[in-house]
């Protein structure tokens, strides 16, 4: 019995050695890490990391149980390993002895393997705790006393509970005073003040801000939002709508500490908001950084001794005080400014008309030629309602696909004589290789006999034309080639990517936003920064952020290549408002609208060429 036990122990240790070596080899192929047989202050956890669900809190709790002290944890996104910096060699040894081949923090209770390493990999980066605060961000500790805290909680509890602004969001309870914050539009309606204004108990706060308030837009607020966060609740990263509120925004934390994340593009700063402190977000911090709270039960915070430790959250109530702007925002931070992002420059329409041909040449034709193969790979499945339209024709009908791209619709219905045309040689070549009938032309000048075609489709084409006149001319050209009684189907991209509050496929594929790991605002800001680096930034039009809602009708949509260069090309689009396509069809001679509908983020119209007899 005794011998068997010893043998088992030996086997277990052997297995651990083997595992250790194998994991180290994997990490080495990823980044420069050299293991050390002697203890060092640096430890690698070899087989558990963010990619298999480990949290910083769990790791720290486990390390703390060994008695060893940790200064910094380095967890890399998407990696199945992570690192510690320990306070001393002694601490490092305690943690190694206490966790290696013992700690069951892996998936489904798998045991962790650790190793001493000579130093941290270069890509580990700096701790998010040692960074300077965003400019304009201030935290005033002990802004209210414990008695004042109770008074304030009572005041908002008593006054607010019956108010109309009471409501519960997915992750937290909210109450409003003064004006209701409408989560649908992320704005307030200044014409509809609430019966309950901000409770007078809050008046004690404003005189305490005199030293700051000289540079602010306001000296007392007129809107208060109360959020109640239970442990585990959070709020996705966001910027308070610029046009809704003035500068600054104040937030008083009551009942519990919490950690708030501030982000601007790739910059991220974690800020601890102690209980009874006041957070002031002004200037850059108010306008150009997003803020949010991760939905967690435990926060990782700096410890008094300079290391890291964990802190359980309690129920926290935050009082956010703001003042309505009642007009457009004129800040100097355009990236997240709703006023500046949605404003259509007055000179735009004139400049589009003057530059339509150049714009389409540079930002449509040249781009499609460059991205043809990659683009074609992403366009293989026919949209069901387009296939349905093609199936509605008698066998042996002649159908022309104007803007056929890689020709995916030309083989949908083999009973038809299908011919396709496009501007982009690269895409035509793809269709041609599949044996399809294609020729090259512009959709404004289709080299096909008049009244010779039974059916016509033009899917996602005329939204690349830069003026209304040109879009109309493209439809007129379709009408010309149709025989009387012939029918055409047109698809264009819709500005509105939601129907009945349902997101289109285009938006649904934004997984990071849908899982609330980030927000559209944050993605816009990140892209804004990336493009500033990549492009000359004298684009005549606003650049759209992929898989987010459109902010304007005339936009440049980025296409990132798959190769190592990750070149970004910008395609011009005019996204259609509701009824815009129908209106355009009504101006085409000799046709009548049969049907129009919305299909997955597109406006669609079917029209028929009127027979001469019925004219």
């Amino acid at each position: 019995m005794h011998v068997e036990e010893t043998q088992q122990k030996v086997n277990k240790a052997k297995k651990a050695d083997k595992k250790q070596r194998r994991c180290l080899a994997i990490i080495k192929s990823d980044c420069e890490v050299s293991p050390s047989a002697e203890p060092t202050p640096y430890l690698a956890v070899l087989n558990v990391g963010l990619s298999n669900g480990l949290t910083e809190e769990c790791l720290l709790t486990e390390a703390a149980a060994t008695g060893g002290k940790v200064i910094q944890v380095v967890m890399l996104p998407g990696k199945s390993y992570c690192f510690f910096i320990c306070a001393s060699l002694e601490d490092s040894q305690l943690i190694y002895e206490g966790m290696h081949n013992i700690s069951t923090i892996g998936q489904q209770g798998a045991v962790a393997y650790l190793s001493y390493i000579r130093q941290l990999p270069a890509l580990a980066g700096k701790s998010e705790w040692n960074k300077p605060l965003p400019r304009g961000l201030h935290i005033i500790a002990d802004f209210v006393t414990e008695e004042e805290e109770s008074t304030l909680l009572r005041a908002i509890g008593e006054d607010g509970r019956t108010s109309e602004g009471t409501g519960s969001l997915k992750h937290r309870n909210v109450k409003h005073f003064g004006f209701e914050f409408l989560y649908g539009t992320n704005n307030v309606d200044p014409s509809k003040p609430l019966e309950q204004s901000i409770p007078s108990a809050c008046d004690i706060l404003w005189p305490r801000l005199n030293s700051f308030a000289s540079t602010w837009d306001w000296s007392s607020p007129d809107q208060l939002t109360v959020n109640e966060y239970e442990p585990g609740h959070g709020i996705p990263p966001h910027v308070d709508t610029h046009s809704a509120f003035l500068d600054p925004i104040l937030s008083l934390s009551l009942q519990s500490d919490v950690v708030m994340d501030f982000r601007r593009g790739d910059d991220q700063v974690q800020v601890r908001l102690p209980r009874r402190s006041l957070l002031i977000m002004s200037g850059e911090a108010r306008y150009d950084w997003t803020h949010g709270i991760r939905p967690k039960h435990i926060d990782v915070v700096p410890s008094a001794s300079g290391g890291l430790t964990t802190q359980a959250r309690g129920k926290r109530t935050s009082l956010t005080f703001r003042r309505l702007r009642k007009g457009p925002c004129d800040c100097s931070y355009p990236a997240l400014c709703d006023t500046q992002q949605t404003k259509v420059p007055q000179e735009l329409h004139a400049s589009l008309a003057a530059q339509a041909i150049t714009l389409e040449q540079q930002n449509v034709h040249e781009v499609y030629d460059k991205i043809a193969d990659h683009f074609s790979e992403t366009r293989h499945t026919p949209w069901p309602q387009v296939s349905e339209f093609l199936d509605s024709f008698e066998p042996q009908s002649v159908v022309l696909d104007i803007g056929c791209g890689n020709g995916k619709y030309l083989s949908c219905n083999p009973l038809l004589l299908s011919v396709g045309c496009d501007r982009a040689q690269g895409l035509l070549a793809v269709g041609r290789r599949k044996g399809q009938n294609v020729f090259r032309c512009d959709c404004l000048v289709v080299p096909v006999r008049s009244s010779s075609i039974d059916g016509c489709i033009s899917i996602a084409v005329i939204h690349h034309l830069a003026t209304k006149e040109r879009r109309l001319a493209a439809l007129q050209e379709m009408a010309r080639v149709l025989r009387p009684g012939g029918r055409a189907l047109v698809y264009v991209w819709a500005k509105d990517q939601r129907k009945n509050d349902k997101k289109s496929t285009y938006l649904r594929q934004n997984k990071a936003v849908n899982k609330e790991r980030t927000t559209e605002q944050q993605q816009r800001q990140k892209q804004h920064q990336e493009l500033e680096q990549q492009l000359s930034n004298n684009n005549p039009l606003p650049v759209h952020t992929n898989r987010t809602e459109f902010q304007q009708q005339d936009v440049l949509v980025p296409w990132k290549t798959k190769d190592e260069q990750k070149t970004t090309y910008l395609r011009y689009y005019h996204v259609f408002e509701e009824q815009e396509l129908e209106n355009l069809v009504s101006q085409v001679h000799e046709v009548q609208l049969i049907k129009s509908y919305y299909d997955q983020g597109n406006h669609c119209a079917i029209f028929e060429k009127i027979s001469k007899n019925s004219l």
């Binding site: 040689q425 070549a429 020729f439 090259r440 080299p447």
Partner: protein
């Protein structure tokens, strides 16, 4: 380019051109891609085609012995002719060659089987 596609192409968009059809076809390189013969398909496509361009294509493809200059009336019963039309319209594939506007002489090249019908802005 199949000769059925050829039957629909025109240069009428060029400034000053009245008809622009049929285009003058030159074949420098072609191949024959065999496909299944379906008499009904050929028969029902014919009314949508222009016979003068069908015959014109036959002349260039050196198949005039098979295709009459004038469309015969009882074509439904003439399966042999339908088969020859099938070959002409759906099996001959022009890889290299050109199309020429009958009125202005503007040439549209065909390369790798794709006719380039793109016009410059000042031609329209």
């Amino acid at each position: 380019m199949k000769l059925s596609t050829y039957n629909f192409l025109t240069s009428v968009a060029i400034k000053g051109v009245k008809v622009g059809f049929p285009l003058k076809l030159t074949i420098n390189k072609k191949e024959v891609v065999e496909s299944e013969f379906n008499p009904t398909f050929v028969e029902r496509i014919l009314p949508k085609l222009d016979w003068s361009a069908v015959y014109g294509a036959a002349q260039v493809a050196e198949l005039t012995e098979d295709i009459p200059a004038v469309q015969p009336e009882n074509i439904v019963e003439n399966e042999l002719l339908l088969q020859k039309l099938h070959h002409l319209l759906f099996e001959i594939d022009v890889l290299e060659g050109q199309l020429e506007c009958p009125e202005t002489g503007r040439v549209f090249p065909i390369s790798d089987g794709i006719p380039n019908m793109l016009l410059n802005e000042d031609e329209v």
